[in-house]
Amino acid sequence: MYTIKACLYLTLIASLLVLSVLYRCGKLTALTIPLVLMAGLSSLVARTQAKVRVERAVESNEIFAGEEVAVKLKVVNKGRPLLMELKDCVNEEVPVVHGSNRVLLYLINAEDVEYVIRPPSRGLYVIGPVIIELSDPMGLWKREYVVCGEARVAAFPRFSSVSGAPLGAKYTGVWPGEVLSRRSGRGTEFYGVREYVPGDELRRVNWKASARLRRLMSNEFVEERVTDVLIVVDAGWSGVIEDELAEEVLEHEVSAAAALALALLRAGNRVGLLTRGEGGTWVKPGFGRRQLLRVLYHLAELRMGEQLPLSYVLRTLAHYLLKPHAQVVLISPVLDRDIVSAIREISTEYEVLVISPNPFSNPKGGQLLTAYRLLELEREMLLTALSRTCKVVDWDLRAPLTPLLKRVRVRRWAK
């Protein structure tokens, strides 16, 4: 492919020839000779073929936003020594903090190229392809080859740990966990007293009751088991408040969802994810580290954008994703009346916890705009309405989430 420089040289030669005709001056024609010779010799010297192999090694494909990733390229030349420009394409918004992804190489045998990128925010980033560019010494033309494919780096949202999520689901699984079930067994919550049976631990013997009834009695505790949790992240309220503020609240929502997913999975629960926004998606409940990665991948991709009403999304997908009487955790600033009807609808069948980050908790310049004040009032009304049907955590974004979660009372199931 010819470059702009070639066009400029061509224009210069043409101009000199035209001027020589206009002035009837052969000296200007003679001036074109060294230019043509130089361009011709430059093309003769150039190499157009390359036998180059490039291998890329990315330090880690999964990082947290703001962390650095080292990318190493091993460039091997199987032919004669070669002059080339090597470029590993990186998204423009990702800064290269050490080294460079563009290298001018005189390649004899093999070279290592290393650079470090720092994805600024959560998301999925593509690195590559690697392009090598061969050109003549004057750069009148260039030829590009794609020599290595793409690699993906997922930048997960940053989050701080959360504990004490108040789960009150009636549905519990078979494995021991942290959710109070309706059965007696091993646990910490007192359930009742029954007659001692051989095999009971001595520390569970209720000595006072035994003395009163003149036979050995044992304490019973509420069995704590795992449950299924569906975390619903609402990013479908764009346009209600300023974009910058909305993005900030969304980041808090995503961080809270990630922290909850980690805490719940660590406790042995099955966790699923449902997101509403641009690229809204869902993950069926599951256990373990792989499930956490799945959830984090989907959270990394979540962007602001309204697609479907939350009531429709929940009505359609909750039954598909979750067993009856399991736990739903909705993370939303609750700026939409539709959310109240959606929660009312599903709270008959599921235990619902609403975590609502307050977008107006940190007003700029200490004062809220009148419009925001009205929105805040409306939000407070919606939260009051919601608190009649489910547990609500009104989250002041300046404060950590854990103490607020611990303040919420969990329903104790009757004997």
Binding site: A14, Y23, T29, L31, L37, E111, V113
Partner: protein
């Protein structure tokens, strides 16, 4: 500023001064101004500034060529200007990339090419052109060259990829 950059700037300013010495006209002032975009182009890595520098240098060079008695000098100054611009372009490119021996090799290649071009040009002037003066009309020569140029430009436009 590296040694190569300092050398390039010194060479460009020298060329400009030589032009001003041989041809003390207002166009020499324009030539002198070309040192500004050249310096900025090299120091900031903006390649278009080098093209601007060459464009500012050309009017003075053309005027000098029209008035010159010896064309070899004109060709030498033009070649040297183009050579400095090309090396400056390499330095400007290396500002945005990491250089691993590329610039050095390319400068050597460019030096060879510029030197060879100058030699061939001088040979042409002393051997071929005086002979051509007997048989070929000037108008015909220019017409042939324009035709060749037209063909070359057609080739350029038809073959986007080599």
């Amino acid at each position: 500023m590296s040694v190569l950059e300092a050398l390039l700037l010194a060479a460009w300013i020298t060329t400009v001064l030589v032009m001003g010495y041989f041809q003390p006209t207002p166009l020499a002032l324009v030539c002198a101004l070309s040192a500004v975009p050249y310096t900025l182009g090299i120091l900031t890595g903006r390649r278009f500034l080098l093209a601007v520098a060459v464009a500012l240098q050309l009017p003075g060079l053309i005027q000098y060529s029209i008035n010159a008695e010896n064309m070899v000098w004109s060709c030498a100054i033009l070649l040297f200007t183009i050579y400095l611009a090309e090396v400056g372009d390499l330095v400007a490119r290396s500002r945005r990339c990491i250089d691993r021996g590329y610039v050095k090799r390319r400068v050597l290649e460019l030096s060879t090419i510029a030197g060879s071009s100058f030699t061939f040009t001088v040979l042409l002037f002393y051997a071929v052109l005086p002979a051509a003066g007997f048989g070929i009309d000037f108008g015909e020569l220019v017409a042939i060259l324009l035709l060749l140029l037209l063909l070359a430009s057609l080739l350029f436009s038809s073959s986007e990829e080599v």
